[in-house]
Amino acid sequence: MNDLFWGLSGVDWALIGGGVAAILGGIGSAIGITVASATVSGIVTEDGEKFGKLLPLAAMPSTQGIYGFIAAVLVLIFFNLLGGESTLTGTQGFTVFLACMPVALLCMISAIYQGKTGAAAAGIVARRSEDSGKALIFPALVETYAVLSLIVTVLMLTALQATFGG
């Protein structure tokens, strides 16, 4: 428990990992939603009837923030950080930190790019309302990689939990 890695305990490293995942995912989502919403707002200003069809495009980057949040909660639960009974060593905590990085970094980046893709796809709806289904596909493709990063982080955390015994 008192074993330190680069001056920080295992619990410190695990908390930083979970925190970074939640923070970066949230930052990415906030930026992505802002980017998409700016364009969507402009379209709705000129054509209010398209609001319903454009809302999913603006909301789509919000999922990355949720994925980061999920990763952070899993870290807290898997390694008993909530009960204050964690036995993670410094090195073990650092590996938990590393396991959080796929979802943290990929969610931030993919949310921003999903916002950009959503903004571009909103142009399709602006031109032809009936193509709103097609417009959803492009930002959804970006989502794939955020989901994969969450799966990787969850699998790594599960493996670490099995190895360290919580």
């Binding site: 969507v40 000129e46 921003i112 950009k116 571009a120 909103a122 602006a126």
Partner: protein
Amino acid sequence: MAGLTSTRDDIRYGFAVGRVRVLQARLLSRSVYERLIDAPDFAEQLRVLSETAFGRYLEHAATAEDVERALDASLGDLYGEFLLEAGLPEAVVRFFRLPYDYRNLRAALKTRVLGVASPELSSLGIAEPSAFSGSGEGLPEEMAAILTAWDEAEEQPQLAELESVVDHALFEALAGEAKRSRVAFLRDLMTLRIDLANIRVLIRANAKSLPPSAVRGALIDGGTKRLLELAAEPGRMDAEEFAEAIVATRAVVGLEARDLLDLDRYDLVAAALEAGRMASARMAPSGAEPVLAYVLAREAEVVALRTVLVGRLVGLDRETVRERLRGML
């Protein structure tokens, strides 16, 4: 860093880009122009336009002057409302309004120096039309200097000299605003426009075998330097050789030597190259480009509409109007 800038631009211009995506679809289509040309009279033209954004401006128009005023009002709203709300840098707004100031300057100079009756000055510029009278106190320094440049001159300048001085000043002012705007598209567009104007000067100089000093004076700074270096060459080469030399500078991609052998053909090719640059900007998914391309498209739309409406009002036949329009669309 580039990613950060791009994301900042996405947020900054996103709202305007969204509006443009809808407004672009409301630009007049080729079929509307065809209907306008084929309309039997002005009343029918107004009926066609009543279904468009121009309807409210042209509602009470009856003469060519009314049409001019109505179209200017539509542009005034574009600059006053859309551009200001678009969150574009101040320099971009100035970029679009400066040409009207220089148009006023040209008209005021013709009256002042050559005694030619001046048409009504436009109020679409930055400076008040009244500022172009007297010593130009309300004008920026460089404009006032041009306005009063011939006040003490013993010899009256030629019209071409006046035009050249105003054109040079306009290009310089626009290039300066484009640079200040920090919008890459505007900077590239100005470089292209200056290069195209300089190539035109070089072609004419070659045809007239002008001396290098005259060519240098006519060329505009701010474009591709390699073109300026050709100022000494026009008299030394024949037209084909000179066209090859211009193309070899690679200043303007897409130009071929045969495009430079005839000025009429060159003007069409130059207009097409500029239109191509606009089209690629319109297709940009985000940033300032689609917004600027839309404003430029609206300006072109007003010019085309003016050609059709005023052309028919003053009695031009359909084929002449159609021919003039062909170069614009």
